[in-house]
Amino acid sequence: MGKVLMKGNEAIGEAAIRAGCLNYFAYPITPQSEVAEYLSRRMDEVGGVFLQGESEVAVGYMIFGAAGCGARVFTTSSSPGISLMSEALSYITCAQCPAVFVNIMRGGPGLGGILPSQGDYFQATKGGGHGDYRLFVMAPASVQEAVQMVMEAFPIAEKYRNPVMILGDGLIGQMMEPVEFPEDLVVKPTNKDEWATNGIGNRSDDSPNLVKSLFLDPVQLNSHNLMLKAKYDRMRREDVRYEAYNTDGDYRALIVSYGTMSRVCRTAIDFLKEEGLEVAMIRPQTLFPFPEEAVRDAAGKAGCQVAVSIEMSMGQMVEDVERSIQGRCPVEWYGKCGGEVPTPEEIMDVVRGMLKG
């Protein structure tokens, strides 16, 4: 199939269907309500499940229930809604159910605003809900990449039996771009008979399956957490993704940026190159696991005087950048939020200023 022009939110909905996920529960919130609007029609056409829940709290548990009985299932929301789903995310992660959550971020905190933002980096990568858990977090920088990440998210969620979050900003949801849905990303669901509550009678052995998160015995809870930690460590080993830009030659500064913000940075880097100032970029495609090594190596290259994390937030990813670079060069932050997006010219000024100062 060739390319079709689609709005990000609709393309995200279609990508899930193409990936074989026919179950969707959601609650409307700007700037991602088009996913629900689109799927309310499309799920009907393909014989899937569409349900508008009464709140994001409830939707979180609809996802938990559906994932727990072995179905491929996903939801989409935006920042305040994800806060409400965070309770369920903690439970789902502990109970080891695969599911996909898409967050089309808007400005916060509080009701914030409805324009694009990257203010939920901490929430997505460091928790949000209670307890020691991690989500596998992917950050698309284009509608096409959002499509691919949604399609890949299901097998990744199943590989780790862990929720995957697609962290996009409002621009990814609202933008129209030509997209295609690569057939080769379609992966058959794993067999879940070993753990899912799909009915004893549907399995060969007669013992009940149990999906739960309660471990009253401290020794058991500790070992459950160790097992979860081993999964997060495996994510770090096997599934880190990033894109390196202009890192081949020498450069004087390194930008770390993700999502829509990284596209602006790329333009700034191209302009600076014309001026004779070489700047490189690492664009994390997975925010957890974070591309620590790539960032560290790029920042440690001879001649690199500064690394700057450029974000549509008040300095969240910069903490992971600092942690990764481990003092190999100074680390700075630049950003704006609430729907303000730094322009290429601003970024150029920022980089020039940092190299002078």
Partner: protein, 250 residues
């Protein structure tokens, strides 16, 4: 003579952790008997609440999921929508269902979700040590209403069955008890009906069971039965609050 009283197949051979005189065990047994009678053990999924029955899956011999506090109806919705062939029931206490989970139960009932809820109303929060619940009686003393429930300050106890029956969506809504054999027989029939409606894909079904918590009421099991009969049952009247229209024969 053959064995006349045996453990239902839908129950495991585990002693329960419930206190002496607690009705949770009786209700488990009734649900298990109904599962056996309907022959649905192989396709039943229970949802455990957060409350004294959180470990219900240690006793039921069917697939189980454990919800967060109050969220069982949303989980049941998720399961039932993607797997309508499964028989799904939630088992919830009054703190779980009538307080923190009020939103989830109302909306699941109003959507007419085709699952069954067993609602165990013992007028307190059992698991956390007998705090006041939305169902606590006027003047009833609990660990957070030491002078008795002050209805001026916190309102009257919530009658869940009547509240849900007020919704326009067809449903089977009933209130039963299990404190005496005569009540147990009726409760069993009601649970049977509730699961049957689900099997026929007819409607949401809800069985409130007025129950005891002698431990947190500070009573002997016998006194708890008396108190239930004399104080709870006049307020929480037993019987069907709503039944679906009879089916039109095609």
């Amino acid at each position: 003579m053959g064995k006349t009283f045996k453990r239902p197949e839908a129950l495991k051979d585990n002693p329960t952790h419930y206190c002496p005189g607690c009705t949770h065990g009786v209700i488990h047994r009734l649900v298990a008997e109904v599962i056996d009678e309907l022959g649905i053990r192989g396709r039943t999924v229970g949802i455990a609440p957060v409350g004294c029955a959180v470990l219900a899956y240690n006793y039921f011999n069917v697939d189980f999921q454990e919800a967060a506090h109050g969220r069982a109806p949303a989980m049941a919705t998720g399961i039932k929508r993607v797997r309508p062939d499964l028989m799904v029931f939630t088992y919830q206490g009054d703190g779980d269902l009538a307080s923190i989970g009020m939103g989830e139960i109302i909306h699941a009932a109003n959507r007419g979700e085709k699952f069954t809820t067993i609602f165990v109303n013992n007028a307190v929060y059992g698991m956390t040590g007998g705090q006041m619940a939305p169902t606590t009686m006027p003047d009833q003393r609990t660990s957070t209403s030491p002078f008795g429930r002050d209805v001026q300050a916190v309102g009257m106890p919530v009658k869940m069955a009547e509240l849900l029956a007020a919704l326009q969506t067809p449903a089977y809504i009933t209130r039963q008890s299990v404190i005496k054999p005569k009540y147990i027989n009726r409760a069993k029939k009601a649970i049977h009906k509730a699961f049957s409606y689900q099997m026929e894909n007819r409607c949401f079904s809800f069985v409130e069971v007025v129950s005891t918590c002698p431990t947190n009421w500070g009573m002997t099991p016998l006194d708890a039965v008396e108190w239930t009969e004399n104080t709870l049952l006049p307020y929480y009247q037993l019987g069907d609050c709503k039944t679906p229209e009879p089916r039109e024969e095609a």
